[in-house]
């Protein structure tokens, strides 16, 4: 099968700074693909090159088998949902959604019908005549989505579309985005710096750091088997174990990352003894920091909140164990 989006040797530098470094990437049709990374890691630049807003310094972009590297944005079969929505302030909601259809020369009636359908798909029927400044952030977000999907693009590019929304709304929009992607059946390329969002929504995640993809895989692969220190600490939280500590815990003598929810604490039994240094109550769970005896190392464990009568205190003695399968060996750092 042909890739929806194929990047080969993609390189982009702005003056002396390298934004994207010789990137090869294949995004499949119908895939929800996330590009995850801290700001300045090059993920947005890649998205803008796919959309055609930036020209790569070298390398090629192919969309569905066609090389589009030198084509302007208005000829590419993709549409973009912008971070700040970029709605046309002088046009009503319905006119914003109809814009692309009007440019394409679709007749008035047909245009209206398609725009209404798109607004329905993002649950925004009834606000057709409002201006963008009369809408809430979440509503603007939906207009931006409707405006992009009404053109039935082969791929939808989303640049941190949920970044400006508050937590509750963001969670709701995540669910709706996923549903929308499933019902449209098209490729979504989703740029975010929020690892939660990337893990929740994606079929595959590419983790960006300094212009390169440092890990590419399903959310489970990326979360359970982070390849290096950067990914282990950027995607979710982990305790990094030095080789000596890993060995003391019965693991291989190599740098390891372990997720706090995979660390088991017990009053007695096997394991490495330690003293609880801190207990942090987060609501659904307790985050417990343990000083390991004689190792000069700390490890963090998560325990579910199962009631006030069952809880650990600072200074308690515990035994720490980690299943070998729960720890991910890390690649040695490039010096």
């Amino acid at each position: 099968m042909e890739s929806a989006i194929r990047l080969r040797g993609l390189h982009k530098s702005f003056g002396d700074t390298i934004a994207v470094a010789d990137l090869d990437l294949d995004i499949e049709p119908g895939e929800f693909f996330s590009m995850l990374g801290p700001s300045g890691s090059g993920k947005t630049t890649v998205l803008r090159i796919i959309a055609g807003f930036e020209q790569p310094t070298r390398g090629t972009v192919s969309l569905f088998g066609t090389d589009v590297t030198s084509l302007p944005p208005f000829t590419r079969p993709v549409n973009t949902v912008f971070q700040d929505y970029a709605l046309f302030p002088h046009l009503s909601v319905i006119a914003n959604v109809e814009y692309g259809l009007r440019v394409a020369g679709v007749g008035r009636k047909e245009r209206r019908a398609q725009a209404e359908e798109a607004l329905g798909a993002v649950r925004l029927a009834g606000l057709e005549d409002r201006r963008p400044h009369e809408l809430s952030g979440g509503q603007r977000q939906r207009v931006a989505l409707a405006r992009a999907i009404v053109l039935r693009p082969q791929a939808l590019l989303l640049d941190e579309p949920l970044g400006a929304l508050d937590l509750k709304l963001r969670e709701q929009m995540q669910v709706e985005l996923k549903e929308l992607q499933r019902s449209l059946g098209i490729t979504f390329v989703f740029v975010t710096h929020d690892q939660d969002e990337a893990l929740t929504l994606s079929d595959r995640v590419a983790v960006f750091d300094a212009g390169e993809v440092v890990q590419l895989g399903t959310p489970r692969e990326v979360y359970d088997h982070p390849r290096n220190r950067f990914i282990a600490s950027f995607v979710g939280s982990s305790t990094l174990l030095e080789p000596d500590v890993a060995a003391a815990l019965g693991l291989a003598r190599t740098p390891m990352a372990v997720r706090p929810e995979r660390v088991t604490l017990a009053e007695s039994g096997p394991g490495v003894p330690g003293t609880i240094a801190e207990v942090i109550y987060t609501g659904p769970e307790h985050r417990i920091v343990v000083d390991l005896d004689g190792l000069d190392a700390r490890i963090t464990a998560l325990e579910p909140n199962i009631g006030a009568h069952h809880r650990r205190e600072r200074g308690d003695r515990v035994m720490v164990t980690i299943e070998p399968a729960a720890a991910a060996p890390l690649e040695p750092e490039a010096a």
Partner: protein
Amino acid sequence: MTTHRLSAYLAPRRRLRLASLLTAPVLWLGLVYVVALAALLVTAFWTVNELTGQVQIEWTTENVVEVLTEALYRTVTLRTLGIALLVTVVDIIVAVPVAFFMAKVASARLRHLLVIAVLAPLWASYLVKVYAWRALLSSDGLIEWAVSPFGGSTPGYGIVGIVLTLSYLWLPYVIMPIYAGFDRVPDRLLEASADLGAKGWRTLVSVVLPTIWPAIIAGSIFAFSLSLGDYITTRIVGGSTQMIGTLVYTNVGAANNLPLAAAISLIPIGIILVYLAAVRRTGALRSL
């Protein structure tokens, strides 16, 4: 200690604070601006003693009727209106691409230089600039020298000279609001338009122009109203051309008929009020 006590006294008294802050400027504005304008309006209904030449407080509508009915005033009003509109159009045609270049194309450094270049002429005396144009337009001036090898000749002193000079004078006032207007159009909007399939010209017509339209109108208010009242330029580069301003000037000076001058000056005030009322709908007054 006393300042402390004073601020403690004023802190909860909002009206008193506002009053002490605004009384002087409001009085000033009231006297200098509103009263002067009212005096102008009233004077239009007074008469001049034919013997002494003194203004008499003797109420009459003669001046206003004369201004409204005499063919001379109609002709001059139409000519002034035409010149003002032409100046406005010329300025907009020049200002839009310049402002676009400044706001969207030029590097930050070049942009600063251009802003300075646009504003710098405002520091020079108005009169010097108009005399400079008089020299440019003269029959042995720079324009004649530049175009005569190609069979052209200088437009000389007249309506063309007035339009050229006024367009030059008011250009900064038109460029600046339009530049600010372009500056406020986010690049994202242009990208969104391209993303939705629009080519450059389509984006210009459907996105850029509607967004900066109020700024263009704002700029036009300056060019139009400043041209409407001008008389110095007309006298210096206009040859024998009469505009409303020169008529007012003649009646104040040579004809010594202040009430008639006041009545004539009601014409541009009326036109400007109509113009402002018309552009108020575009929201342009908010982008001044």
